[in-house]
């Protein structure tokens, strides 16, 4: 090897090592800072009770149940709604449009653009529609907005899974006389099941962690929502509001909420990974 190639090799080796370490360091530091600030306030009460009168003045009496329940209601509702939309679209792309490769490229590009739109834009869009219809901030409006936000993600994730199904399997299904619908739901759906579950969890993780899209649409409340027309609190917004408080105790509560949120998202990603590996 010439000297130049040797140096080149060494340089990129060291460089990629340093960058990897830097990223791991940032991640560890991030988790460490939320744990350091928020862990002391973590208690059974904080995850099982909604806030009471004195909660916002020093962290006693009640907890984040309003936000935890709100986040789950919202993210689960949005995931179900997005699933109802995404599965047919993803199957449609891979079964009916398989002949039109150029159109497919266009649609995929369009979905990728939708994926890239900042969530605050979805929030503003949801808010506009809400105003137009004359509704208040509510769980239902939040669910619809978050569903719109995560649908492109779910569609593309499902699409990527369905794309890997060999054309031979599709031909085999047709050769026995399956219709396109039967091929879609009895063959493709089963074949892709683990990957589809991963896609759903990915979208759920994105939905539960998003603050901007629910800011104008779901609102905020100290109560656990009991119907779709109630406003709903969410963990990301809890963090947002608590951090704005001048009191340090209050700010630390934001970090406690961050721990809970991070834990939920982490569990979702790990489950998604495990499901995908099982395949």
């Amino acid at each position: 090897m010439t000297l130049r190639r040797k140096w080149e090799e060494k340089f990129f080796h060291v460089m990629s090592g340093i960058i990897t370490l830097a990223i791991v360091f940032v991640l560890v530091h991030l988790i460490w800072s939320i744990v350091a600030k928020g862990a002391s306030l973590l208690s059974w009460n904080i995850i099982t009770q909604p806030p009471k009168g004195t909660f916002y003045f020093g962290g006693e009496g009640g907890g984040f149940l309003n936000a935890i329940a709100g986040s789950f209601y919202l993210a689960i509702g949005a995931t179900v709604l997005a699933f109802v939309v995404s599965l047919p679209v993803a199957l449609f792309l891979n079964i009916y449009l398989i002949k039109y490769q150029r159109l497919l490229i266009g649609i995929r590009f369009f979905l990728d653009v939708l994926w890239g739109i900042p969530s605050i834009v979805y929030g503003a869009f949801g808010f506009l529609i809400l105003m137009y219809l004359g509704y208040r901030n509510s769980l239902g409006a939040g669910i619809v907005t978050v569903a719109a936000l995560i649908s492109p993600i779910m569609i593309r994730a499902m699409d990527e899974v369905l794309k890997t199904i060999p054309i031979g399997l599709q031909e085999a299904a047709y050769a026995i006389g399956s219709t396109k619908t039967e091929t879609a739901f009895k063959v493709f759906f089963r074949q892709a099941l683990p990957g589809l579950a991963t896609a759903i969890l990915l979208a759920f993780g994105r939905g539960i962690g998003d603050a901007a899209s629910v800011l104008f649409t779901a609102g905020y409340t100290d109560n656990v929502p009991t119907k779709l027309s109630d406003p709903a609190a969410t963990l990301p917004l809890t963090i947002f509001y608590q951090l704005q408080s001048p009191s340090e105790d209050m700010q630390n509560l934001a970090y406690t909420a961050a721990i809970i949120l991070t834990f939920i998202v982490l569990c979702t990603s790990i489950t998604a990974r495990l499901l995908y590996r099982k395949k």
Partner: protein, 228 residues
Amino acid sequence: MSSTAIANQEVLTSESHLQAVSIEVPVLQVRNLNVKSKNQQILKNINLKVPKNAITVLLGPSGCGKTTLLKCMNRLTDLYSELKVDGAIEIDGKNIFSEKHDITELRQKMGLVMQRPFPLPMSIYGNIAYGLKIKGVRNKKIINSKVEKHLREVALWDEVKDRLKTSAQRLSIGQQQRLCLARGLAVEPEIILADEPTSALDPISSRVIEEEFWRLKNKHIPFLPSSL
């Protein structure tokens, strides 16, 4: 295009030979079939008559269009946008490319055994029952007996009878190929299109499949391309 020429020539020879044995009523007739992709003519002016109750074999080097011809016959070419098909393929006197032709019915008439087996993502039992179910057979007893009958036909029954409910995708490749043949037979096709069905198999599985084709000769018309 040399490969086209070979395909053309080869198909024409087979036709002249078939005419020599005098076909009164061909079960399947190909007329002036042309298949083009964007920058290549894959099949050129294919004319062919397939007799009843006989095994018809297409010979040719790989890449000459044998698989494409078979895919035309049950319209799997519909899946590929780049393929332009014109000409006619007639089964019982009806052109399969006409708009009116029911495509799922056509495909049920034509069993297809591919080069590589693709079991459906279901159990061994489910793979065979699937074809029956989409044909509208609901009676469990009938399904059970047909599953057993067709698995016996391809000599797979004894190997899998204790694990019918396990995934078909865990079988060995030879077993999968026999399962796919049984799956095709279960919908009771009139014609069997087999695309080098034994090329990926061990000698024993190959023999089982070939013997099965000989046995099927009187009931169905197997149609076997194999490479030269």
